[in-house]
Structure formats: C-alpha cells, structure tokens
Amino acid sequence: MRIDVLLFASLKDEVGPSMPVELTEPATVADLRRALEAAHPAFGRFGRRAMVAVNEAYAREGDPVRSGDAVALLPPVAGG
C-alpha cells in the first residue's frame, strides 16, 4: 500500500509537504519509520524524538498502519 506521510516544519522545508512510502501489509509504525529513513536522510535526523501520528493521534512503534490512514512524521514539538 502507498501512504503519503505528512511533513511539517524543517522536514517540510527540506522534503516537501508530504512523502510517499510503499509498505507491505500488515505494517506497523516501526515499518513506516524504516521506509522513511531509507527514502531520505532527513527522516533519521530526529531519531525517536520524531513522533509518528496515525489518524491525528500519537502512535506507538507497534501500532498498525493501514491503507487510508492519515499518517504524519512530527519533528519535536515546540509550541508555547
């Protein structure tokens, strides 16, 4: 399945507003991370400090990623 991963802040500046990745089902957040890190060096920069969101909520490494999910890779947040 193809997932278009939303990007923000420095990742968006460097790579663009989203990054397509191809995953084999069933896939997890950890699989998604590995696919991103293989696709562009920028995605490894923050390590685990970059969180993955699935359907607009924080996801853990073992959580599933399914076709049609809204997925984002979030640099460390800096609100306030």
Partner: protein, 132 residues
C-alpha cells in the same frame, strides 16, 4: 470555540470567559514572543501547526485536566502564523474556588501543551531563520 487561532489572542477575554461566581482564584499563563533566545536576537516567530491534530490534542488535554483537576475550569488558546516580539502565542487560564487548584491546573495545562501539541516555530532574527 477552536483551540488554535490565527488572530491575536486577548488574555482578558479568556479571563472573563473562564470564571464562575463560585471561583475565588484565577491563574493565567501568557506566553509571548521574546526578543532573544539562546543568545540570538529574535524579531519574529512563525508558528506552524498540524492543525487537525493540534485541535484534537488540545481537546484531549482539556478533557484530562477536567478529570485530574475537577474543581477547575480551564480555557486554552494557541496562536498560529507570524508573530512579532511581544505578541501573545499561548494563553492558559484556570479558575477554581481556591488558588491551589487554579495554579495547579494552569501549570499542568501549559506543560502538556508544550510537551504534546504539534506546533513548531521558525525563529527569524539577525542570524537568519531557523526552526527551533
């Protein structure tokens, strides 16, 4: 009312909106853009949010705080867009019968916002521009 706004935030209007006749104490935290950061001169901050998720995360925080601080009434708002020095970026206001409760809820609110809400800022200054 959404938690994010691209318009200036007026802390006074949130103060008036949060308080109830049974409340004796209102604690507010106002975060503003300051003119320096880690020794660099700052002229502007651009706040970018993952909007739909930021709204959901702030709603979760509000719900969590209504459970952990049941005596307090809480309002929060975060600005997005390009802000000059001195402009208000975030307001958390908690109203409660007693001041301990109001302080605790206010403090907890801003800590959770800063830890979890997907918002980023790009700093502009004499050294150029960078995400911080």
């Amino acid at each position: 009312m959404p938690f994010l706004t691209d318009r200036p935030i007026d802390p006074a209007s949130l103060f008036e909106a949060v308080r109830r006749p049974s409340d004796g104490g209102i604690a507010l935290f106002v975060g503003v853009v300051r003119d320096r950061n880690d020794g660099r001169t700052v002229t502007r901050l651009d706040y970018e949010a993952y909007g739909p998720m930021a709204e959901k995360e702030m709603a979760k925080i509000a719900e969590e705080l209504s459970v952990s601080h049941p005596e307090s009434n809480l309002l929060m708002r975060h600005r997005v867009g390009s802000l000059s020095v001195g402009e208000v970026a975030v307001v958390v206001v908690a109203s409660a019968p007693h001041r301990d409760q109001a302080f605790a809820a206010c403090r907890d609110g801003i800590e959770r916002i800063k830890a979890r809400v997907p918002i980023w800022k790009r700093e502009h200054g004499t050294h150029g521009a960078a995400w911080v």
